[in-house]
């Protein structure tokens, strides 16, 4: 792999659980509990997992929207884990995020023009006519009409609002964009439009994406590599083809088997996966997946598996595979 654009090592983000009355710390939610990965320039990494797996917290920790508890984050060759806010500021132009629901991430009292002008003003990049031109350029880039600048977010449909969210993220020509469920709130016909837009922009602008999603079809369509998270850890990661067609971790297998297929009669034999995801405040000992794992052994309840390289960048953390 070329010099990675982003490298995350031993990332842990824990949240205190406070008692109701005295606000004393009575426990810890280990939302992210030891995550390592690297993203090469121009690559699309998918992070998949169910509710509570910690995938959103990973994204926010990378951007330092949440301060990680432990570990390190290197971006463009620089350790940014503990950079003070003033030094983070110029870097924020280089790393951006697109959220799931553009309605709640766009200010309803600002016109689209002002929303898109804000990044340029905040970073002092452009003003006056140049600013207007840049905003118009952004609207064109994401396929919105020029007169959108005078209108407010509520005048747009969900898909169009997501185009605004993408335009804002692109304003300062970032190298890295984190998409946190960017198409999950959209209808399937609109979802396809936005996925195509994201893919086209990636090619045209040479962007690097981290796409956080629970939708394996979306991830398969757009990602080069995929990391599967369960209870705060990456249980398996690798090139998309290896992960989707040669999964090694029983959780990845179960997740894939549970995805309904839009072909009648194509129902796969389901890997029986009972129970719910345990609470990250009280994860099971050993391998966190062992209480639900159809292939758990005695060792799994005691000892946490370590990530094992299977070659070709395919990594799995499971005792069945040498972990």
């Amino acid at each position: 792999m070329a010099e990675p654009l982003l490298e995350v090592a031993g990332l842990k983000t824990h949240f205190p659980v406070l008692s109701k009355l005295l606000r004393r710390r009575v426990g810890t939610v280990k939302a992210v509990d030891g995550v390592d990965f690297a993203v090469a320039p121009g690559e699309v990494l998918g992070i998949v997992g169910e509710s509570g797996s910690g995938k959103t917290t990973v994204g926010k920790s990378i951007l330092r929207l949440i301060q990680p508890t432990e570990g390190s984050i290197s971006f463009e060759g620089r350790d940014i884990t503990n950079l003070p806010a003033a030094e983070m500021m110029p870097l924020r132009a280089r790393m951006q995020i697109v959220f799931q629901d553009p309605m709640s991430s766009l200010n309803p009292r600002m016109t689209i023009g002002r929303i898109l002008a804000a990044p340029f003003e905040i970073h002092g990049v452009a003003k006056g006519q140049e600013l207007q031109d840049r905003v118009a350029g952004l609207l064109g880039l994401v396929g919105l009409p020029e007169d959108a600048a005078q209108r407010y977010p509520h005048e747009f449909s969900g898909g169009q609002r997501q185009r605004v969210g993408i335009a804002r993220a692109l304003a300062l020509r970032p190298s890295l964009i984190i998409g946190d469920e960017p198409v999950s709130a959209l209808d399937v016909s609109i979802q396809a439009q936005i996925l195509n837009l994201l893919k086209r922009l990636q090619g045209e602008l040479g962007l690097t994406y981290i796409l956080i999603s629970h939708n394996l079809g979306v991830v398969s369509h757009i990602c080069d590599r995929v990391a599967v998270m369960y209870l705060g850890r990456v249980v398996e990661s690798g090139p998309r083809e290896a992960l989707f067609f040669n999964p090694k971790h029983p959780y990845t297998e179960a997740l894939l088997a549970a995805v309904p297929m839009p072909e009648p009669g194509m129902r796969r034999a389901r890997v029986p996966l009972g129970g719910d995801v345990p609470s990250p405040a009280n994860p099971p000992p050993g391998c966190a997946f062992h209480p639900r794992c159809p292939r758990a052994m005695a060792r799994c309840a005691i000892e946490a598996p370590v990530p094992t390289q299977l070659g070709d960048g395919h990594v799995v953390a499971c005792h069945l595979h040498g972990g």
Partner: protein
């Protein structure tokens, strides 16, 4: 062919808006047969949820105006029933489950009491009999330690467990029809698989007909026997699931199926998309509502609205230029 347990004829829902009325559901006709699952699929604003609420007569009127030639359920026209008679049917013969069980369960009542309620109300069981039945139901829907679980409040359960409780309540009186509105949309995929399996098992056991309302074609492919596709307040295509997915007749159905991102070995460069967006109710074009987005539309499509016409293999389509035709 099994006989229809529920048949809606020209069902419509309109709303008064400043300067007129807007039809959110317009002339929807379909039937649900004994023991089958009919999938009602459509995107946001297609009118699928309004259709289901209209069937249950749960729409508040005003603002909503319900119209229909008839809604025949077990031989009786629901339109002629009083509110008290409807209340006797709901939860007994005709039940419903919703997307978010947290908002449809009572947060101040234990789960057990909420299942007891229909058993006492509709079947006339004593409190003790009802509780014994409730615990059996909780066990049947896969909730561990049912007698303990019956004492719990909804917030103490996970999303998947809450949906199991909703299913237990809805099926407590062995209804002949269950309306399930996006029952797994709020759930994670492994939990969704559990709930869909459970619904299928219970359907086999009880012979309940299910009207499954969803935006997710994959869920339809796995669970439904027949499917009705809605667009802009109307049904545009119906048919058995296998045939409809293999050779969609309506260009909208075809576009929807093609735009789903799938897990494929070779990555497609681009997903086929449907251009534009769903028209707002009240701003429907004169002809076919899909014509402005349709690649095959010609002058006839823009001029006159097609009605649902029979096609081969027990299918129906509302299109002037059906695909695969």
């Amino acid at each position: 062919m099994a006989e229809a347990v529920l048949r809606a004829e020209k069902l419509g829902v309109a709303f008064r808006i400043p300067g007129g009325r807007t039809k959110a559901v317009d002339g929807v006709t379909f039937e649900l047969r004994h023991g089958e699952t009919l999938g009602l699929v459509g995107e946001s604003g297609s009118g699928k949820t309004l259709t289901s609420l209209a069937l249950m007569r749960l729409l508040e009127s005003p603002p909503a105006e319900l119209s229909a030639d008839s809604i025949v359920f077990e031989g009786r026209d629901l339109l002629g029933l009083s509110e008290a008679e409807m209340a006797d049917l709901r939860g007994a013969r005709l039940s419903m489950i919703f997307q978010e069980p947290m908002t449809s369960l009572n947060p101040l009542m234990t789960v057990g009491r909420q299942i007891d309620e229909p058993l006492v109300r509709h079947l006339g069981l004593s409190a003790a009999e009802a509780r014994a039945r409730s615990e059996a139901l909780l066990a049947r829907v896969g909730i561990p330690r049912p007698s303990e679980a019956a004492q719990r409040y909804p917030h103490q359960l996970s999303g998947g467990m809450r949906q199991r409780v909703m299913i237990a309540i809805a099926l407590a009186c062995r209804p002949s029809v269950l309306v399930a509105d996006e029952p797994t949309t709020a759930l994670d995929v492994t939990i969704q698989a559990q709930i869909l399996d459970l619904l299928r098992e219970l359907q086999d056991e009880l012979g309940t007909a299910i009207l499954l309302i969803t935006h997710d074609l994959a869920v339809i492919a796995e669970t439904a026997h027949r499917v009705a596709v809605m667009y802009a307040g109307r049904i545009v295509e119906t048919g058995p699931v296998a045939a409809l997915f293999a050779t969609p007749l309506h260009p909208y159905t075809e576009g929807l199926l093609r735009s789903i991102p799938r897990i494929t070995r070779i990555r497609e460069a681009e997903l086929p998309e449907i251009p534009g967006m769903v028209p707002a109710p009240g701003q429907l074009p004169a002809g076919c509502a899909f014509a402005p987005r349709c690649a095959f539309a010609d002058a006839a499509c823009h001029a006159e609205r097609p009605t649902l016409m029979p096609a081969e293999g027990g299918r129906e389509v509302a299109c002037w230029k059906p695909r695969h035709g």
